[in-house]
């Protein structure tokens, strides 16, 4: 047990936890925009998979992780628009339209992978950036300031989103549309336009999350997300639809995972308990939410399509 409290172990857990948290964080943040405006998108995992494959394939062919990220953004935008079409204009039942997107994304990404790539080959990852000065701090430097560039960008999206949601007109519209679409509509806010925007943002970020996942892992495999998209959706609830909460939730989940892994590697957790240990992040997330006793309620209009005059 004492092995766990060595410098290298602690640093490894924190750095690893941050890495595991990032795709969750980005996807969850995207879903937050949509849910805050009243739309539930269960297709996040499917969009992540498509973005992951698109990003991977682009880097495989061009060698540039940044182009891969760009393709991930593009795929995310397209799938976001499709999701918006289904949920907002066609008013499809939000519980399952997303599942259709998930099944499609899972299957289509795997299909293209088998046909266009065949045997998986590694790709260039994002460059690491040691933040000058900060990265030399003992302990903290390795934990926080020696990551790949996208990780910093992902975390920067949190305060940015806080600003957008709380301080801009767009953000105000999002919140209004999510709480009381009828009132917002009567004030001249186009409910459908706001929701189109938020759902597209959600899809875009899901695509980005997938691309980050694949490129940072440097490889692709079928079902590479392993249902992380659903965890990301769950974390939206955990974070009470607020970017800061999302960040904390993703970090909690990532850190618990990393901690359990480290304990397995150091043999503190014997192999017989391996499966039980794998439940830990899920259990802790539930317990954390119970303890925190969420005083936050969901956006009142969540999952309800809006029709003027209905």
């Amino acid at each position: 047990m004492s092995d766990l409290f060595t410098q290298s172990a602690i640093i490894a857990v924190i750095a690893g936890g941050i890495r595991l948290a990032v795709p969750l964080l980005v996807a969850s943040l995207g879903e937050t925009y949509g849910q805050r405006s009243g739309v539930l998108n269960l297709g996040v995992d499917g969009i992540m998979l498509l973005g992951a494959f698109g990003g991977y394939y682009t880097v495989l062919k061009t060698g540039s992780p940044w182009l891969g990220l760009l393709v991930g953004i593009g795929i995310g935008i397209i799938m976001g628009l499709v999701s918006a079409l289904m949920a907002v204009t066609l008013k499809a039942e939000q519980g399952i339209s997303g599942i259709g997107v998930f099944l499609f994304g899972l299957g289509f990404s795997d299909l293209l992978f088998q046909k266009w790539v065949g045997t998986p080959r590694p790709i260039t990852k994002f460059p690491k950036l040691d933040i000058p000065g900060l990265s030399d701090i003992p302990w903290l430097g390795e934990m926080f300031f020696q990551h790949s560039v996208v990780i910093y960008l992902a975390f920067a999206a949190i305060p940015f989103s806080m600003w957008v949601i709380n301080k801009t007109t767009f953000g105000m519209n999002i919140r209004a549309v999510g709480e009381n679409p009828e009132a917002a509509d009567s004030l001249g806010v186009s409910v459908s336009r706001v929701r189109w925007a938020t759902v597209t943002i959600g899809g875009t970020l899901a695509g980005v999350a997938g691309a980050i996942l694949a490129i940072d892992l440097g490889i692709f495999q079928q079902n590479i997300t392993n249902a992380q998209g659903f965890i990301a959706i769950a974390l939206v609830y955990f974070g009470a639809w607020r970017p800061l909460g999302i960040m904390l939730g993703s970090l909690l989940y990532g850190l618990v995972n990393a901690l359990v892994l480290q304990m397995k590697v150091l043999e503190i957790i014997p192999n017989d308990w391996s499966d039980i240990a794998a439940m830990t992040p899920a259990v802790i997330t539930i317990l954390a939410l119970v303890v925190v006793a969420s005083r936050f309620s969901p956006p009142s209009a969540l999952t309800k399509p809006f029709t003027r005059g209905a």
């Binding site: 339209s97 965890i231 769950a234 955990f238 308990w273 039980i276 939410l289 309800k304």
Partner: protein, 394 residues
């Protein structure tokens, strides 16, 4: 042209909408098949014949549809209380596990006692796994989407632990291979086969029975009334004295119970007569926990309509496997195709509902010769955004 003809035409159009949606998805599927160099005609004829074209095909379809039906009916009950149950996967696992544990520890009491016993155990296992998120939601405000997703993860890991540990087949330990499976369970607990030596067992019939019971429950009992009331309007229900929290817990518990029953049927109706997985997330359930949600919504959240919906969706799944074998495309294509079908059918639902709305009745006022429109009545919105029962609700 009387207004009655108009209504007939619209109704006919409405019912063709889901068929057109499925066909549209299949058209895209055909394009993908052609792009992969496969013959779409051969493929799709195999899809249909593999699903419906022979007794064995129909049997496979019915068997595939069974867990979908159980889960779908369970989801429907929860949805009616405005609770989204994405935990079907975990509840199936919990039900499967408890029924297996009972079978492994019970003496051979003969099929008449053992079978109801293990099915009951499945019910209880799933009920517990549904009661947990129910209680968490009602008493701690923990959102059910979060808790059910997390509990799915917990259930799968628990299953892996038990099937590789305490419940493992002693033969596996002997051979050292340690496949996560139990020993062959008591023969008396095998679900009885019908129609001779075929594969059809009583599972589908139990599922249909469950759907009927659910229908009666929801529309003919006070409990069902409370569930629907809470789903329509929580505050009004509270004012009316309905114990909202307990009803929510009850709805999720019942939903879980049905999913648990699905898990038990999977175990005791299975070919291998044991509980087996491969360690992966959907290794035991085959994603029936998610596909059941699709079936529920295809059935318009009405237990009786979920029966044909599950059967048809099951047919699509079985037929898809046959298509894959026949034209040798990667299984991934079938998965994508399933997704497309769901997307198209769900997206077209709005048109179907629009067509089912009774158009405004026009009364001609002789004096003024000006038509006065009487309010059109759209079907009242159901829980979770406008899912309507699709006919026959009293």
């Amino acid at each position: 042209m009387t207004s009655l003809d108009e209504v007939q035409k619209r109704r006919l159009l409405a019912y063709s909408v889901p068929i057109l949606a499925v066909l549209s998805a299949l058209v895209i599927g055909a394009i993908m098949l052609i792009a992969l160099g496969a013959d779409p005609i051969k493929g799709f004829s195999k899809l249909f014949s593999g699903a419906f074209g022979s007794t064995s095909a129909l049997t496979e379809t019915a068997l595939k549809a069974t867990p979908l039906l159980f889960v779908g009916v369970g989801i429907t009950i929860a949805f009616r209380a405005n609770v989204i149950n994405i935990g079907g996967e975990g509840q199936m696992v919990a039900g499967g596990l408890l029924s297996t544990i009972v079978a492994l520890n019970a003496p051979d009491l003969g099929p008449f006692i053992l079978i109801p016993l293990v099915l009951l155990a499945g019910l209880v296992g799933g009920a517990i796994w549904g009661a947990i998120p129910g209680a968490l939601k009602a008493y701690y405000g923990v959102n059910e989407i979060l808790s059910t997703i997390m509990l799915n993860v917990v259930a799968v890991q628990l299953m892996n632990y038990l099937l590789r540990g305490p419940l493992i087949d002693p033969l596996e330990v002997e051979k050292g291979t340690r496949i996560p499976q139990t020993e062959r369970l008591l023969e008396s607990a095998d679900l009885p086969r019908l129609f001779g030596s075929g594969r059809f067992h009583i599972g589908p019939l139990v599922a249909i029975l469950a759907a009927v019971v659910a229908y009666i429950l929801l529309w003919r009992t006070p409990i069902g009334y409370r569930i629907r009331a809470v789903g329509q309007n929580t505050s009004a229900s509270r004012y009316a004295g309905i114990p909202v929290k307990r009803t929510i817990v009850l709805a999720l518990t019942m939903s879980g119970a049905l999913c648990g029953l699905a898990g038990a049927v999977l175990v005791f109706g299975s070919e291998s007569h044991r509980m087996v997985t491969d360690g992966s997330t959907a290794g035991f359930t085959g994603s029936a926990g998610f596909n059941g949600i699709v079936a529920a919504l295809f059935g318009g959240l009405h237990p009786l309509w979920t029966i044909p919906a599950s059967f048809l969706f099951g047919g699509l799944l079985v037929g898809g496997l046959a298509l894959q074998r026949a034209v040798q495309v990667p299984s991934a294509l079938i998965l994508a195709l399933n997704g497309l079908v769901v997307i198209f059918v769900v997206s077209s639902d709005r048109f179907r509902k629009r067509l089912l709305e009774r158009p405004p009745v026009v009364i001609e006022d002789d004096d003024n010769a000006q038509p006065t429109a009487v309010a059109s009545s759209a079907d009242p919105p159901g829980p979770a955004g406008g899912a309507d029962p699709g006919g026959g609700e009293t």
